[in-house]
């Protein structure tokens, strides 16, 4: 592009801007859950293969992040939180983000197939498609349930890690998927309750805007209730163990209690104490997911040492 900006020393993209397109914070979560799925699987990969598998799963997630930034550049330009992203700030051209996203998607899928197996690669391709097309293009701007269905994209990595190691999808992989899938809505809506966002200006339907805060509070409770059986059931499969079951019972009790408190409060109470409960529950939900996967890893380690 013969843009005047390209002759200006301040506005040019640096290497870090292209890294930002891949949403590195999301990638770090994907690395953790994919690695967990891979390590708890009964089949172990060679360390080089395992490293490559996790790397290319994360790269695929990053590629879908770049495609999302390309598609959502108009929304990002309106919202304060995202205004500084590489495309709305003008440092990266939209076409560059599209090209980078497509190229990295191809590399990630092909390399995952070569490093592990075709099913894992197919699942990764589907995840990229799901996040970039189903979530970003179809759902995000059309329904307040966007976060529910879009959560599936974030739920695939542990399943892909599992399939990379074992070559097939099993009940354990489905339950790890469901754990993240069902966790996403209450986690996100707890955040939406206390974050003063400008999704309204960007015309993105959020539950708090379309159905009100009272309905969002009820949603947090009912979705948390629906999450619990999946979280506990994972402990009864072959990858569960005493650490997971103990942690899961405690964490689910805590999450349920928090969701109940959110549901029983009204806006006046919440405003009075500065959304204290909502912030607590949001923070707790982060630990909830992290510790569930840590517990799975702990049980896998104990099993490897022959503790049970």
């Amino acid at each position: 592009m013969a843009d005047i900006r390209s002759f200006d020393d301040t506005g040019e993209a640096r290497f870090g801007d292209y890294v930002q397109l891949l949403k590195p914070r999301v990638m770090s979560l994907v690395v953790f859950t994919a690695l967990a799925g891979l390590l708890v699987a009964p089949v172990s990969l060679h360390p080089v293969e395992a490293f490559a598998a996790v790397l290319f799963i994360a790269l695929g997630a990053g590629a879908s992040g770049a495609l999302n930034m390309w598609w959502d550049a108009d929304i990002d330009a309106v919202m304060r939180r995202t205004r500084g992203r590489p495309i709305p700030s003008g440092r990266v051209q939209p076409g560059e983000a599209l090209g980078l996203g497509l190229a990295l998607s191809g590399i990630a899928v092909v390399m995952l197939a070569l490093a592990t197996n075709a099913l894992a690669a197919a699942l990764l391709a589907f995840t990229i498609f799901f996040y970039a097309v189903v979530y970003s293009m179809w759902l995000k701007r059309s329904t307040p349930q966007n976060i529910v269905i879009g959560g599936a994209a974030g739920a695939f990595p542990p399943m892909i890690g599992w399939v990379a190691a074992t070559g097939s999808v099993s009940v354990e992989a489905w339950l790890m998927f469901m754990l993240i899938f069902m966790w996403t809505p209450p986690h996100f809506w707890a955040l939406a309750l206390f974050m003063k966002s400008d999704y309204g200006d960007a015309k993105v339907p959020m539950l708090t805007e379309t159905h009100g805060r009272k309905a969002t509070r009820a949603h947090v409770w009912w979705y948390t209730l629906a999450l619990v059986p999946f979280a506990l059931a994972l402990g009864l499969t072959s990858i569960g163990g005493p650490v997971y079951l103990t942690a899961s019972v405690v964490l689910n009790a805590g999450f349920l209690m928090g969701a109940w408190r959110i549901w029983r409060r009204d806006e006046a109470q919440a405003e009075a104490d500065g959304y204290k409960v909502e912030k607590q529950v949001f923070r707790f939900s982060l630990y909830y997911l992290f510790l569930h996967f840590c517990a799975l890893l702990a049980d896998a380690a104990l099993r490897a040492w022959g503790a049970f």
């Binding site: 040019e12 640096r14 060679h46 080089v48 293969e49 490559a52």
Partner: protein, 67 residues
Amino acid sequence: MAFRPDHELHRRRFGRNLGLGLVLAAFVVLVFALTVVKVTRGDPMQAFDHTTRPEMAPATDGTEAGQ
């Protein structure tokens, strides 16, 4: 015979080029490591192509016609 000084563009983009170079070098190392692992473990490294590869055919007990 003095070299001309670097064009300003090359100095400005040095960070980008260095970053991409390191990423590509790491990719080469990873593909090589994967290859070594797969070859030393004896994963199937051949596939059927346009010529007949008798060694690719499923093993038999050696009693077929022609043996």
